[in-house]
Amino acid sequence: MRAASAALVLLGVLSATGCRDVGAAFEPEPREPLVPETLTRVTFQVAADRTPAWTEGGDSIAYVTGHYQPLAAAPAVPLVLSLAGGPAVRLVPGIQGGATAAQRVEMFALAPGDSVVAYVVLSPLRETACQGTAEVTDPVPLVSATVAVRAVDADPPQASDPSITFDLAGYGFEPKAGEPQGGLWLADYLPFQQAYRDQHTSVLRPSFSPDGRRLALSDGQRLVIWEPATGDTTVLGAAGEAVSPAWSPDGQWIAFAQPVRVDSATSDRIYYSEMGAVLCAERRTTYTVDWSVSVVRPDGTGFMSVAPGRDPAWTPDGELVYLDPDGRLHLRTLGAATSTPIPLTAGARAPAVSPDGRTVAFELGFAETTDIWMTPLP
């Protein structure tokens, strides 16, 4: 019995030895969580990070970056960043691979539950509207857009994603005698084209209905309701020229931005080769626009203009956050006569309200050096 006790003591010593570790391995310093106490910067890249959107749990922010090193060929890639720390990772890893590695994917939307994403592929983009020249001029109008939906962790090829494609207005060719190539190449910077060109505004962005079955989106001029499962589309003609739709949390409203054309200017330009030969001619039209935020019922009824502004977003309580003409984000109850400026949001764009309604994320900065920020809502 005593020998057994001695054996147990030995075993205890051995066990104690087994429990003790020799020096812990190095643990990398974690990134501190991002807490929106005042004005908090979410991304820091010296490139454009735009159009934030919250995940359903409110613990991460998805956004589009203009430079993602592992996908250097892609001019825009959707990412998602956990506020608890860690690096940003691709929101939809199954796309932008292989032959589609250079796709410009922007204006995404997360379906309720975060398991499905709608994304927009803007293509093809050209260096200039004027064909036949390699000269790089100002960004040219968007030519077409494909809106597709996909489970974020899906494996099938991107081509099999349900999608709908729009030919976008603003780019064309007008035959005209006496011009090189027999006509004029048109670069019509319609308000949605101009908003995208100036600030990469998510004019075409899709927005899921609360049940996740339908999407509100814009073809640049009209609101369209698309049901991916069936392919059915409905154009909300009553809304008129409308961009940046946002489906309200209760499903009753679709908010959107309406451009009101104030003025326009047209100019023609001729492109020459390095040897002086005339290559082609381009006609460029630009507009001066006032923006207003409006709402409409998903069936096209109940149109209501809310306030001057753009980039509308909903709070969970059904209030609207938008970019006021004063350059700040404002918070306004639908139907109210006044709005509340959100502090520390001067210069902000593309707001997105957290699921708990306490924080608004937005993009802030210059065109090519935009980052994601956030601040508490009042």
Binding site: V13, L14, T17, G18, V22, G23, A25, Q45, D49, P87
Partner: protein, 957 residues
């Protein structure tokens, strides 16, 4: 109850030492598994020889009769303490206790019998055990007895070997590791494939050994070696009763600064197994040992500290400390990471006598040693560790036939050995590591490596598949270190190392030896031996790349040898020894006749042969009252080169340069001449001293550096030569309360070659002397035994202390030769002195509660008790612990940041974002890279053993 670990007792003054030593007998032959007892029996009153007296061992089967001169010989006596009975009608029988026999050596007895007409009880006397000088031995050797092995502070047998004069860090008298031979119970055993890197092939636990005999000079003809012979004799079971012991030692209690996760459990048991056969014995020994840090260093995981750095590096360190304090020396620990290891040694020996003259000994030795391999570039890698595992087994069977006549004996031994040794180096499978079953650092199962099955597949299949080794991933270091992306190319934190290699050595050994021992001490011993190997070697250095090149070889070397050794006693005062050995080997490698032409016909490497005479003489110096002895020996020595030299290999030399060398299947013997002259003296009856001068002329050493006589540059050849000469002083004091062994060695080992830097030779014909890599000028070793370890039989405590102080090796041979620094000047050509003090103390606690037959004691075992940070290597580029500024900057400049890294990037590391603005700028990146490059120069591996203290408990029955 006294603790029975110390086997035998000593009664002082029972018999004068010199009376025993004056009887000249044949000198020893190294490498034998048994010893012998020689003696003379005289009448106590008349001193006339007693003829026909029966002399027999009471604890073994040896029995002989005295001849007309009263002489007797007992052959094939197992090492250890024995009891001997001498009987003759008309005399009172005498029993002599504690006759100590060492393997390969004679125990010399002079006995007297008292005439008595009555049948009276036998007289019991005690033999004197100590022999402070050996006038009858022509070689330089040191014996560590089994009881000392169990009292000394050591984990491994090679730590005991280190205590012998002339042995340091595995180098015998300036020789390269691997130039010595290990003999286990008479069977020569060595990892001939890579002995110069690995030393012995298989390891025995200290508790499994009866004794260790370390021979450094004056080799007999029985063994082929350049530098030394280590004769290991294993224990056998007690023929009368079962005995055993078990020890647990651990440092689990220690504070973190001395905690290295060591736990060792050792157990041995032995006794009679009558059911196998009358007189049969069995002995079994197991050692299991686990270490969290298997190679503890005096400064643990450290960095280039400010007091290490050179003046040119000082500004960089100062700026790092000011600008990026968190990145300067970011991670230090008392133990090295990724360095876990364990080993299991199992040994079993069965002795089975057949009648009085014939006996069979079989044994099985098993080794499994495995550990993670700390490498500085992998120190922040926590998902994949580099590791090594070796599994080996040796089976041995020996048949001994002994006949004893009147004053003579004949002894014949036929021996067979089979060995297999597998070594694997690779990346430990993380899935295995996660599910590992073990206790602390000890793993119950064998390490599993990534792609292990794949790399053992037929080479043709591997080449055809063109695959990377499964599981291997290209290394990178974007994250996971304190330096984040700045560690790229400096540390590996993701992916794996690229090393996947394994080797297998198998051999079949057969020995046949016979000897005739005459009563006057003369002896003739002759035999033949053969070793037949099957070797496989596989190496892939970028295993993560598909179709990356691999080196593989399979070949069948063989060695044959025959020897004859004759020893003659002349005029009872001098011994003359003459031996001759002939040795042959062939590499078994088939190689292209012209290495530059792959279409050239292939040839088989030829047999190489050499003839090796050995001569020795020893005796007492006349006119010194038998207090002074002398010995002289000359040996022509040779051994086949390590088999790895037959193959292309990346050879790391003492300069820490890994240069690819071209294998040479047609290499010849490494050989040389060895002379030594020694004197021993009895200063007082209890203090003996000796001095030995030696010179080794090494004229055919393997080198890979030069082109000699039409060989190709960079190809291994035996073109180096050099000399080793030295003086060894020893003192052996057997005092009343203590025993002290001490030695001082003065040595110089010098080579003569064209150049020591190999492939970059500018003028290969220039011959200049340079220090051989293991030229150690001064070495002091001492061992002190107190209490029961020192011979005080009734002491309840025991204490053993070992101390070494060694001057450093040359760290840069050209600089040591006065050729100036390679890249820097001003530093010393030799490494600094090292000094280590180890100790072990134990206290008997009496009978173990609950077990009346068991005794127990507690033990404290300490290593490097002074905590000295011994520097055992220096950087080749600077000659100091500090890297050069150029080394650091070159490493830092290998990668530049092309764009800032934002916080949301996977490459972002907060520590590198020095101003915490969420963006790692180019300037911050560069600062971090310099810090990483400095950290990569981690000098941990330049330090010797750490201070360790372990507590243990030992139980014996």
């Amino acid at each position: 109850m006294g603790f029975p670990l110390k086997e035998g007792r000593r009664r002082r003054g029972a018999r004068a030492f010199l009376a025993l030593a004056a009887l000249l007998t044949p000198a020893a032959a190294s490498g034998q598994a048994t010893g012998r007892i020689l003696g003379i029996v005289r009448d106590a009153s008349s001193e006339a020889p007693i003829v026909g007296a029966s002399v027999r061992l009471l604890d073994a089967r040896a029995q002989a009769l005295t001849d007309a001169e009263g002489r007797f010989v007992l052959a094939a006596v197992p090492p250890g303490d024995h009891t001997l009975r001498v009987e003759q009608i008309g005399y009172q029988a005498t029993t002599l206790e504690h006759v100590t026999v060492h393997a390969g050596e004679p125990a010399i007895l002079s006995l007297t019998l008292t005439a008595t007409p009555l049948d009276v009880e036998p007289l019991v006397v005690q033999a004197e055990r100590g022999r402070l000088i050996e006038p009858d031995v022509t070689r330089s050797h040191t014996i560590v007895a089994g009881e000392q092995l169990r009292e000394l502070p050591l984990d491994r047998v090679d730590e005991a070997i280190e205590l012998a004069p002339g042995v340091s860090d595995g180098h015998f008298r300036g020789g390269r590791v691997g130039q010595e031979t290990y003999v286990v119970d008479g069977l020569a055993l060595k990892d001939q494939l890579s002995g110069s890197e690995e030393g012995t092939a298989l390891e025995l636990s200290p508790t499994s050994l009866e004794e260790v005999d370390v021979v450094t000079g004056g080799f007999g003809a029985e063994q082929g070696t350049l530098s030394g012979v280590v004769n290991l004799v294993t224990r056998r079971g007690d023929p009368d009763r079962w005995t055993g012991r078990s020890t647990l030692l651990t440092d689990a209690w220690a504070p973190s600064s001395m905690y290295h996760g060591y736990t060792g459990l050792s157990a041995s048991v032995g006794g009679p197994v009558g059911f196998v056969g009358d007189g049969s014995t069995l002995f079994v020994d197991v050692l299991a040992q686990g270490e969290g840090d298997a190679d503890p260093r005096a400064r643990g995981l450290t960095c280039v500290r400010q007091d290490d750095v050179s003046a040119e590096l000082e500004p960089l360190v100062a700026s790092l400390r000011a600008d990026a304090p968190a990145l300067y020396c970011p991670y230090t620990a008392d133990a090295l990471p990724n360095q876990r290891g364990d080993k299991v040694i199992g040994f079993a020996r069965l002795d089975r006598p057949f009648g009085r003259d014939l006996s069979l000994t079989t044994s099985l030795l098993y080794n499994r040693a495995q550990q993670e391999l700390y490498t500085p570039e992998l120190k922040y890698q926590d998902s994949h560790s580099l590791g090594t595992r070796s599994d080996g087994a040796l089976f041995q069977a020996a048949l001994d036939y002994v006949t004893h006549g009147s004053g003579s004996a004949n002894h014949y031994t036929a021996r067979l050995g089979l060995m297999q040794l597998d070594r694997q180096i690779g990346v430990i499978d993380p899935a295995w590591a996660d599910g590992r079953a073990g206790l602390g650092p000890f793993s119950f199962g064998s390490y599993r490596f990534l792609g292990e099955d794949f790399v053992h597949e037929p080479i043709e299949d591997q080449l055809r598949s063109g695959r990377a080794v499964p599981g291997y991933v290209a290394p990178s270091a974007g994250v996971g270190s304190p330096f984040g992306p700045a560690a790229e190319g400096i540390f590996v934190t993701e992916g794996t190392s690229g090393i996947a290699s394994w080797s297998q050595t198998r051999f079949l050994a057969a020995d046949l030896v016979g000897e005739h021992l005459a009563g006057d001490g003369s002896a003739f011993r002759a035999g033949a031996t053969g070793r037949f190997y099957a070797i496989q070697s596989y190496e892939r250095v970028q295993a993560y790349l598909p179709a990356s090149s691999l080196d593989y070889a399979r070949f069948y070397p063989a060695t044959l040898a025959a020897f004859a050794d004759f020893r003659q006693v002349i005029s009872h005062e001098f011994e003359f020894q003459f031996g001759m050995r002939t040795e042959l080997f062939r590499s078994g490698v088939t190689a292209s006749e012209d290495r530059a032409d792959y279409l050239a016909p292939e040839i088989d490497a030829s047999w190489k042969a050499t003839l090796l005479p050995r001569v020795g003489v020893s005796g007492l110096v006349p006119g010194t009252d038998d207090r002074v002895s002398f010995r002289f020996s000359y040996s022509r020595v040779a051994q086949p080169p390590d088999f790895q030299y037959f193959l292309d290999t990346a050879l790391g030399d003492s300069l820490r340069t890994d240069v690819k060398r071209q294998g040479n299947p047609n290499l010849g013997f490494e050989r040389g001449h060895s002379f030594e002259l020694g004197m021993g003296a009895i200063v007082t009856p209890r203090i003996g001293v000796s001095v030995t001068g030696y010179r080794k002329q090494l004229d055919r050493l393997v080198t890979g550096s030069l082109d000699f006589g039409g060989t190709e540059t960079g190809q291994f050849n035996t073109g180096d030569n050099g000399t080793v000469q030295g003086l060894e002083f020893t003192v052996d004091a057997d005092l009343r309360l203590a025993r002290l062994k001490g030695s001082y060695t003065l040595q110089k080992a010098e080579g003569l070659g064209g150049d020591v830097f190999g492939d970059s030779v500018a003028n290969p014909t220039t011959a200049e002397p340079f220090p051989l890599p293991f030229d150690q000028r001064h070495a002091i070793d001492a061992a002190l035994f107190l209490g029961r370890a020192g011979g005080v039989e009734d002491a309840p405590w025991s204490f053993a202390l070992t101390a070494t102080a060694h001057s450093g090796y040359p760290f840069d041979r050209r600089r040591a030769a006065g050729g100036g620094a390679v890249d820097s000047a001003g530093s010393a050509p030799y490494l600094p002195w090292t000094a280590v003090l180890d100790g072990r103390a134990s206290l008997d606690l009496g009978t173990l509660p609950g077990c009346g037959h068991c005794a127990w004691r507690v033990t404290v075992d300490g290593r490097n008790l002074l905590g000295r940070a011994n520097v055992v290597a220096l950087r080749h580029d600077s000659g100091t612990l500090s890297p050069t500024l150029a080394t650091v900057q070159d490493l830092a400049d290998q990668v530049e940041l092309d764009e800032p890294i934002p916080r949301e990037s996977s490459r972002y590391a907060p520590a590198v974002d020095l101003d915490s603005d969420g963006l790692i700028t180019v300037a911050e990146f560069r600062t971090a890279r310099q810090a990483a490059a400095l950290d990569r120069q981690d000098p941990s591996i330049y330090y010797g053993e750490a201070r360790q203290v372990r507590l243990g408990v030992e139980v014996a029955f």
